[in-house]
Amino acid sequence: MILIITNNEDASTNDVIDWLDFYDADFFRINASDIFNYKNFCIYIDNYDDTKIIINNREINLKEINSIWYRRWGYSFNKEYNDIQISSSLQTEFKDISNYLFRLFKNIPSINVIEDFQLDKLTQLEYAKKAGLLIPDTLVSNKRSNCYDFIDSESSYITKPLKAKIYLQKGNDTYLNYTSQIDKNKLPIEDYFFPCLIQKEITKDIEIRTFILDKKCYSMAIFSQSDNQTKVDFRNYNLEKPNRHVPYKLPDEIEEKLLLFMEYVNLNCGSIDIILSKDSEYYFLEVNPVGQFGMVSIPCNYCIEEKIALKLIEFDKNGK
């Protein structure tokens, strides 16, 4: 049987399930919310019998599961409790239950890994470099003078969070910590501050999003507007138009390096952000193991949904 681990509002899950149905696959879906809502959930451990697990009203027999897709897994308690302390305690409890479940499933062939095992940005860069890919120069430091020296005046630099997405609400204002350009002369005046990540900005020709599944690359080029504008000055641009999303085929050599990278970081699936620079070099930025494949699959007509379904079915067959 195929086990799908996801959240109940995830539309991409439905698209893959359509294909699983098409191929008459044997699958069972669990949503993170199934642990809290009005569906039977139960883990029973005693001195005599094997552990018994029920999720979403159904008893899970580990021997039956040959194939797992870790799509998403998360739940927000903030809405229900509106109290940071309560919701963070509940979050910790939920994490522990999840960790227990995922440890049980650990040796079953799967697509993706669960978020907790994901690699930090710096390790990703190191492995990308080891695989022969170009990466942007990167600094993480708490010392002003280090940052000042790192930034040269010829290039532009950006800062972005290593991982945490911060969403702050102060009065009527909202603060988000997205990627932004950084100016050498506008660094904080303190000599020491909380460590931050600074990266040399690659002047891009186009962005590329590459979805990798089972040693195959599905790439899409993203033309950003401002970029086109500088190239072609005789047009008046309508800003309401979305960026162009079109199929792209990376050079074989780059694909091989990306696959080597995936091997190093032990991922069989993920979405990689790449920049093609003005001087025609490919730069690795980061991998997102639970990336939205729909945003690549649909505009490029790659039908990745079917490919995911077929891979899950293959795992299931091999396990029988």
């Binding site: 439905n14 359509d18 294909w19 149905d21 098409f22 020709d205 080029a221 033309f223 086109n228 190239k231 072609v232 005789f234 047009r235 008046n236 641009y237 309508n238 138009k241 979305p242 162009r244 999303h245 079109v246 199929p247 792209y248 085929k249 990376l250 050079p251 093609l276 025609s280 649909i298 505009p299 490029c300 007509n301 790659y302 039908c303 949904e305 079917e306």
Partner: protein, 360 residues
């Protein structure tokens, strides 16, 4: 430097003029056939080389064409280094649904709907249009929509006759609680208009004065009914844009390709939908694509136009043009436009060559 059209912007040549379909932004642009020819050369030659083949006057026109392409963001410059990497869009049509859409005509009860929802689900059907011929009240509408609560159908359109006792608030409640219902069409209304059930104009109701006793109102070919998107375009390459993976059940329970067609493939009382679509002949219409159809194959709209095989100009010829189409692609005019003549008249005057005029 060279120019390339984005691979989701696709030029389609018609007899008299062409269009470029922008599949991402879901729109299309008219272009002259001379521009189509120039675009074809982009793949082989640099702009400077292309211009050499033309006079200076013509070169100016080429510049205008290029300007047009850039100002609508239909093309881009690329250098030789990454030239091969912009791959064409695949025209592979893939769908996990054995049936993608269904039309059911019912006479004032939800029993039949109930019975077939499960069957449609099994076939992977995602969209359904339900036509109710008899007067219907809000309870019946609710009953029908409840039939879909556990199904995977994502898009339900309801057609029913005007009934002055149907309250706006009740209809709004119906739509707010059933997100799958995407459209309401009301026939025999006092006025033809679109009204909104809510202040945010999220829930429109389409009213028409026309009365319906059957399904013969369908099949009109009009630019308003053109569909400009990727899945439609790709399906149109190999399949019929109306009948592919469609199943219909008429008021008598007969299973058909289209409510307006005579041939039935069994009755829902004793035949399942799965059995019916496997019967010989059922899928034949699915494969009649626009490129096979007389006149349409010469028309620039052939990959955005919903076909009709029920109402055709020559009932003896299943490959003839839809009879509810008043477009003449040989002169690029709709009936009513100045200078319009029918395709038949045009062909008499122009010794129409039976072979296909436009290469696809």
């Amino acid at each position: 430097m060279n120019i390339k059209l984005h691979s989701n912007c696709i030029p389609i040549k018609g007899y008299y003029r062409s269009i470029i379909i922008d599949l991402q932004r879901k729109t299309y642009y008219f272009i002259p056939n001379s521009m189509f020819e120039i675009i074809q050369q982009f793949t082989k030659k640099r702009i400077t080389e292309i211009k050499k083949l033309y006079t200076e006057e013509e070169s100016k026109i080429i510049d205008e064409y290029i300007n047009f392409l850039f100002s609508n963001d239909l093309c881009f410059y690329y250098n030789d280094v990454n030239e091969d990497y912009f791959s064409p869009l695949s025209f592979d049509y893939k769908s996990p649904s054995k049936i993608t859409n269904a039309i059911i005509s019912v006479k004032s009860n939800s029993i039949i709907v109930n019975k077939i929802v499960e069957q449609l689900d099994k076939l992977g059907c995602k969209a359904i249009q339900i036509q109710m011929l008899d007067n219907i009240d809000i309870n019946e509408l609710e009953n029908i929509s409840h039939c879909f609560n556990d199904s995977r159908i994502r898009d339900i359109q309801l057609l029913f006759p005007y009934n002055e006792y149907l309250e706006k608030e009740n209809l709004l409640k119906l739509l707010e609680t059933n997100h799958r219902i995407t459209k309401l069409f009301v026939f025999g209304a006092p006025n033809s208009e679109i009204i909104f059930l809510d202040e945010y104009r999220k829930f429109p109701v389409y009213l028409t004065k026309q009365k319906i006793e059957n399904y013969s109102f369908c099949g009109n070919i009009h630019p308003q009914n053109f569909t400009c998107n990727m899945s439609f375009f790709i399906e149109s390459q190999f399949y019929n844009t109306c009948l592919n993976r469609k199943v219909c059940i008429d008021t008598n329970g007969n299973i058909k390709n289209c409510p307006n067609m005579q041939k039935t493939y069994g009755n829902i009382q004793d035949t399942t939908l799965t059995e019916a679509i496997l019967k010989q002949g059922f899928k034949d219409y699915w494969f009649i694509k626009k490129d096979d159809i007389d006149v349409c194959q010469d028309c620039e709209f052939r990959h955005i136009c919903t076909d009709c095989r029920a109402f055709i100009k020559d009932p003896e010829n299943i490959y003839s043009q839809p009879s509810k189409c008043s477009y003449n692609p040989y002169i690029a005019k709709w009936e009513g436009q100045e200078g319009w003549i029918s395709v038949e008249e045009w062909r008499k005057d122009n010794k129409y060559n039976q072979n296909r005029v436009v290469e696809s």
